[in-house]
């Protein structure tokens, strides 16, 4: 088991290295460079000076080594659009993204597993088919579309919730602790709901199939032969086994969840990493965009590592013997 963990950590490091290299190649293969913007005051001399300042005039090999060394130190470059080091910009944005995604992950896995259980318990009934159809519908919705529709519905037509930002940008600073907390929650509802609905659908579809795969296995029959009622058979014997693959789904769903977060953050002006990356596109702030990709990859790799360890912990066949 120790070897397994070790191998996974090595693999994680290799993935990060490959992506960092890819990012380096992208920057240098792309047309223009970060100092390409047009302004009367930016003379060729100024550009040359900047190039020298940021090391862009050195040999590619040296730049590559420097790039990796800086990355390892957590130095991701300077963000032209935010007027601060990329690291600082991300340090503010990342917690907001993690907060939003964390809420969505917990809610959607709980709801998705519940929905799958509902479908499997009432297999073949009209209500189960309806639940499946609803899951398929939400599974098919574009993230930005759902975000906008919910925004339109609950912030304009029936304005019960704020339209954007993590907190009330004007008043939040003046609020007492309790109203400030409520303010936070109210701003969280729509973005978290959007992400949750989309992810719930995916989790439910996956979990349903896993439950159906376990249902015909021999030990389920043994559980019934013991005299357990069907509820307990599914809750205890089937679900416990069917949840193990769902742990991997957590790792696999992270990239999609991050993708969804990009759109949700943009539409609700939730100033997290996705929002930052999108804003950076408009400003041609490439270091920030690439840093978002790198940090996103790191999140996925880390999430997969955690999922893998949890998988080993959850499956006695891997844990012992």
């Amino acid at each position: 088991m120790g070897r397994r963990i070790g191998a996974r950590i090595v693999q994680a490091v290799v993935v990060l290295w490959v992506v960092a290299t890819l990012a380096f190649i992208l920057i240098h293969a792309a047309p223009g460079d970060p100092f390409g913007y047009d302004a009367p005051s930016v003379t060729p001399a100024v550009r040359a000076h900047w190039r020298h300042l940021y090391g862009y005039d050195r040999p590619l090999g040296t730049q590559y080594v420097l790039w990796l060394r800086n990355l390892a130190r957590g130095d991701l470059g300077y963000s032209v659009s935010m007027h601060e080091p990329v690291r600082d910009a991300l340090a503010n944005a990342l917690p907001r993204t993690l907060y939003l995604m964390g809420v969505a992950v917990v809610a959607s896995f709980a709801l998705g597993i519940g929905l799958a259980l509902f479908q499997v318990r009432r297999l073949g009934t009209r209500r189960a088919r309806w639940a499946g159809a609803v899951a398929l519908f939400f599974y098919s919705l574009p993230d930005f579309w759902l975000a906008l529709v919910l925004l339109l519905a609950f912030a304009y037509w029936w304005p019960i919730l704020p339209a954007g930002y993590p907190v009330d940008m004007v008043m939040h600073g003046y609020m007492a602790p309790w109203p400030a907390f409520v303010d936070r929650l109210r701003h969280l509802v729509l973005p978290a709901l959007t992400l949750t609905l989309l992810t719930t659908a995916a989790v439910a579809r996956f979990q349903r199939q896993e439950l159906l795969d376990v249902l015909p296995l021999d030990f389920v029959r043994t559980a019934r032969a013991k005299g357990l009622d069907e509820r307990a058979v599914i809750r205890r014997h089937v679900l416990r086994n069917a949840l193990i693959p769902t742990i991997t789904l957590f790792g696999l769903a992270l990239p999609a969840l991050l993708g969804g977060a990009v759109f949700v953050e943009k539409i609700y002006a939730w100033q997290g990493m996705g929002w930052l990356a999108i804003s950076a596109i408009g400003m041609r702030d490439y270091p920030l965009v690439l840093a978002a990709v790198l940090v996103g990859t790191a999140m996925v790799v880390l999430g997969n590592l955690v999922a893998d360890l949890a998988y080993v912990a959850a499956d006695p066949r891997l844990r012992v013997g």
Binding site: G124, L217, F219, T222, A225, K226, D229, R240, P316
Partner: protein, 340 residues
């Protein structure tokens, strides 16, 4: 025979599949007396496992027990019980041991947990009490160091130990009837003997009845007092063990006996029954065995054979009982054992 503990009357379990209706069990009748061991023998596909599942009403869709079937147990028709009353019987009055102990045990729970669960369901035992009972039971079925073994997972045990766990689980509530579906098929030969011996020993100790389902006549010879031979979803011959081996009546039984490997018998003398079991979606009219039977004549195609009494406690579904002269010589249907 005394008042039977279990009486199956005209059991029919059909599977409604895309390929047609598979009549896996089609008119099975048999009885088990208290304290008796009955062996049910047949090739795979004859409906013996589905019969076992039907007794516990564990046939899942698209399988269905047809109306008109009756399974009388301790005087009550199990097929008329509601689901709740049926659950009170499963694992408590009737328990089951399955063929493949690796897959029949849940891989993610300790074996102690799984054995204790039975007491928790049926005796409402507390976690600690149930655990203690489980460990005692594991000890009883011959598992060494039961305290430690109880904390292990199925994959950590050997095949024989796993089957002992299954038996412990089945016997937790001292059931009146134990159904053992090919309990030794998945095990090594030496382990097989141990498990059979354990079953026989526990049966004497608890005074329970055993319905032993197997394809292996050798197993039946060692453990059962009576044999039911199944073919085509029904019982074709029933007899006390000694009578069945000494004087088998049904050509199918004779074929099975001829195909049985015996010590000292040269390999090439072993015979097989020609042909294959017909599909359960299309039993032939008349006698279901007639296509493979060397004695078959027109009547076998025209008339489904009823149960003919052969001797006290011995009956056979073969028209030969009526017209014995039609039986072929011993060479044809493969009756090496025939000298009746």
């Amino acid at each position: 025979m005394a008042e039977p503990l279990l009486a199956i009357e005209d059991l029919r379990t059909y599977f409604y599949t895309a390929a047609g209706v598979a009549r896996a069990v089609d008119g099975l009748s048999l009885a088990v007396a208290p304290g008796e061991t009955v062996g049910v023998v047949g090739e795979s596909g004859c409906g013996k496992s589905v019969s076992a599942l039907s007794i516990l009403r564990l046939v899942s869709p698209p399988g269905r027990i047809e109306p008109g079937s009756r399974i009388l147990f301790e005087g009550r028709d199990l097929l008329a019980l509601d689901e709740r009353a049926m659950r009170a019987i499963r694992g408590r009055r009737i328990a089951m041991v399955f063929q493949e102990p690796m897959t029949a045990l849940n891989p993610v729970f300790t074996v102690g947990d799984q054995v204790a669960e039975v007491a928790r369901i049926h005796a409402r035992a507390s976690r600690a009490v149930a655990w203690k009972q489980a460990v005692a039971m594991l000890d009883r079925v011959g598992i060494p160091a039961p305290d430690e073994r109880a904390r292990e997972y199925p994959h950590q045990l050997s095949g024989g130990m796993r089957q002992r766990v299954m038996i412990a689980m089945a016997l937790m509530m001292k059931p009146a009837l134990l159904i053992a579906d090919e309990p030794t098929t998945a095990l090594d030969v030496t382990i097989q003997a141990q498990i059979l011996e354990l079953l026989a020993e526990l049966q004497r100790e608890y005074g329970m009845s055993v319905l032993l389902i197997t394809h292996d006549l050798g197993v039946v010879a060692e453990t059962a007092s009576r044999v039911v031979v199944m073919y085509g979803g029904e019982a074709v011959e029933q007899a006390p063990v000694a009578a069945l081996f000494a004087a088998p009546h049904h050509p199918y039984t004779r074929g099975l006996l001829a195909a049985m490997p015996r010590l000292g018998l040269l390999r090439e003398r072993l015979q097989t029954i020609p042909g294959t079991v017909p599909a359960p979606t299309a039993w032939p009219d008349g006698c279901r065995f007639r296509d493979r039977c060397s004695s078959a004549w027109e009547r076998c195609a025209a008339e489904h054979p009823p149960v003919y009494p052969i001797a006290p406690g011995h009956e056979s579904r073969c028209h030969l009982a009526h017209e014995p002269a039609r039986r072929d010589g011993p060479a044809a249907a493969g009756g090496r054992a025939v000298r009746a």
